[in-house]
């Protein structure tokens, strides 16, 4: 006799577990961005290429999880949070991986030398942006605790504080990005004009990593506030 247990069909997979799994993959993807710029500053083309491959592979994996989660979120599911808010968080997380992919793609398709004057601040900016992503991933890991607490009480306050911290370090990356752009413009006559535009674009994109990570936190705050 086969038996479909009503509790098994009632309690399928938690979308929060999938959301956390997605964020972990996104973070792995982002962790390959500093090696990308490291390799570039060393002039190590093979290193750039292999970092790009890893980023693309992780981004594809993140996409897969994203699609699976979206496909397994029928309207008949009763969730403690708004379905749309949850999908927004997922979308923001995915944008982080997409941005990493854009950065890696451009650096491989249009090989560029990282000018001496940009090397140190560029690496600093990248690392700080990764920090923001890490903070945001840490907040997503709190979802289990939020769920246990019904998205209220001490745990909600704790997450609010973490989001505050997230906003603070994101502000730092904005500063670093501006500073770097300023330096690029000071030296704009030393490199090819198209490269200037490309580098400006890259600075924006690296900053976007932190921007989207911040938005993950902001959306999560909305999710709690329902």
């Amino acid at each position: 006799m086969s038996s479909t247990n009503p509790f098994k069909s009632l309690l399928g997979k938690s979308p929060f577990t999938a959301l956390q799994g997605h964020m972990r993959v996104v973070l792995e993807c982002v962790h390959e961005v500093p090696p990308l710029f490291d390799a570039l500053s060393r002039g190590d083309n093979d290193g750039v290429k292999s970092a790009k491959d890893r980023i693309f592979e992780r981004e594809a994996e993140a996409d897969r999880i994203k699609n699976e989660l979206r496909n397994h979120l029928p309207k008949s599911l009763f969730m403690p949070v708004d379905r749309r808010d949850l999908l927004e968080v997922l979308q923001m997380q995915d944008s982080i991986a997409d941005t990493a992919q854009d950065i890696a793609g451009l650096l491989v398709e249009r090989p560029m030398d990282l000018p001496e004057f940009m090397q140190e601040p560029m690496l600093a900016l990248t690392h700080r942006c990764v920090d923001v992503c890490e903070m945001s991933a840490k907040i997503i890991e709190e979802l289990d605790e939020l769920l246990a607490m019904g998205f209220r009480g001490r745990e909600a306050t704790r997450v609010e504080e973490m989001v505050g911290e997230l906003n603070k370090i994101e502000d730092e990356t904005d500063e670093l990005g501006l500073e770097l752009a300023r330096r690029l413009f000071q030296h704009e006559d030393e490199i090819k004009p198209v490269s200037v535009i490309m580098w400006y674009q890259l600075i924006q994109w690296v900053g976007d990593l932190a921007d989207y990570a911040e938005k993950v936190g902001d959306r999560l705050r909305l999710l709690i506030a329902r």
Binding site: M1, P6, F7, F78, P80, E145, M149, R152
Partner: protein
């Protein structure tokens, strides 16, 4: 009358065989659902669940199974118009048993969420309408039973919701949740023992020749609760903080405190299930035995013999031992969304509701109540996602089971009647 006299023994043997078959089926399929929230949360293993179920299903059937049995046996049908043809009621009860058993076998082989309670009630009504007449059905009682099928899952859900909220307030949302869990754990175990035994004791043990006053019931239930709390306190004190697991999930150690607590709710649930669902098998059996032994007395004045309750308990345990293990294993892989604390709330709420229904003599569906209780936990924003399509399935099974059980019973009734007359 002659039929009862000449075929009395055969009819009784048939009733015992059908009744045993029905309780065997309950043990094989239904118990797995009753233990679903306990095994699914990973608090107890499949093996432990089997042992707990064997002991407490029997205890529930034997100690508290009388009232629902009475309802199935003589609460649904008014036999006053057939006092001169008692064999009609005997055939009808046999038909109801067989119809329900067949329908359950078909349904569970296809994995449909069908309730034993609905099958047997539908079958008894179906036979009475066709075999005796529409007026022979006690519609007042039947509508009360039908209402309880809606109210009981709602009640289970409400209790589960309130329990979840209280656990958040007293344990999770505190400075040191682990310490709070250890402090309040015994109180929550007390609650399990107190509620279940109070409902059971309160004027409920007449058939065992134990009659307690309201005050005495209260005192005995409190004492029972305290004994359980003491055992629980000992078990809870063995639980140590697991800093590694806590890093990943801050409430991991707190959940470990709820694991021994789940043993008590699992026992309560098995007891509750036994007390309510055993009647589905032995209610009609008791009716047949009573009529045959009294020589054709349809009003069934004789008290329910204890051996019938025991027989029902044994049937459930045998079903559990032969098939239940396999069915239960399907949920043994764990339902990750159901942590021990959530499982505790859902299971206690369901057990309390079922025992209350048993005490009132209302045949309810343990599975539906447990589903209601899990949804109650979800409404407290405590579960990641609940697929509400299951409710649709339950409603459909309702709508389908009652007429099919009834129609099958009617067909079997006429077959039996033709065979013996």
């Amino acid at each position: 009358m002659e039929i009862i006299e000449s075929y009395g023994l055969i009819l009784m043997v048939m009733a015992i065989v059908f009744g045993l078959y029905m309780t065997w089926g309950i043990g094989a399929n239904d118990v797995a659902n009753a233990m679903g929230t306990s095994v699914g949360s990973g608090a107890i293993t499949v093996k432990q669940a089997i042992i707990i179920a064997a002991i407490f299903e029997f205890a529930g059937a034997f100690i508290a199974g009388g009232n629902v049995t009475k309802t199935i046996r003589k609460g649904i049908i008014d036999p006053s118009s057939i006092v001169n043809n008692p064999e009609i009621l005997v055939f009808g009860m046999l038909a109801a048993l067989l119809a329900a058993a067949i329908w359950l076998m078909v349904a569970s082989s296809r994995g449909w969420p069908v309730s034993t309670t609905h099958s047997i009630v539908g079958a008894v009504i179906g036979f009475a309408m066709v075999g005796i007449g529409i007026d022979a059905v006690e519609w007042g009682k039947v509508s009360m039973i039908a209402a309880s099928w809606v109210v009981s899952p709602l009640l289970g859900g409400t209790i589960a919701f309130l329990l979840m909220m209280s656990i958040r307030r007293l344990i999770l949302n505190t400075e040191n949740p682990f310490q709070s869990a250890k402090r309040w754990g015994p109180a929550y175990i007390f609650l399990v023992g107190f509620v279940i035994s109070l409902v059971t004791l309160f004027k409920g043990l007449k058939h065992l020749n134990i009659e307690l006053t309201a005050g005495m019931s209260f005192v005995v239930a409190a004492l029972f609760g305290i004994v359980l709390a003491a055992i629980g306190w000992y078990l809870i004190n063995q639980v140590k903080v697991d800093p590694d697991a806590d890093r990943d999930f801050h409430f991991a150690s707190v959940e470990k405190v709820f694991t021994p607590m789940m043993i008590f709710t699992a026992c309560a649930m098995a007891f509750a299930h036994g007390s309510n669902d055993v009647a589905n098998g032995i209610g009609p059996l008791a009716a047949v035995v009573s009529i045959v032994q009294s020589g054709g007395e349809v009003s069934q004045k004789a008290a329910l013999p204890l051996w019938i309750l025991a027989l029902g308990g044994i049937g459930i345990v045998v079903g559990l031992a032969t098939m239940g293990y396999r069915v239960m294993k399907t949920i043994g892989s764990g339902i990750t969304q159901l942590t021990p604390s959530r499982g505790y709330c859902a299971t206690l709420a369901a057990a309390a509701t079922v025992v209350l229904a048993s005490r009132t003599g209302l045949p309810v569906s343990t599975t539906h109540i447990a589903v209601g209780a899990v949804i109650g936990v979800g409404l407290a924003r405590g579960v990641g996602a609940i697929d509400l399509r299951v409710i649709g399935g339950i409603v459909v099974s309702w709508v389908v089971t009652l007429p099919i059980g009834g129609a099958l019973a009617a067909i079997i009734f006429f077959t039996l009647k033709g065979m013996f007359t």
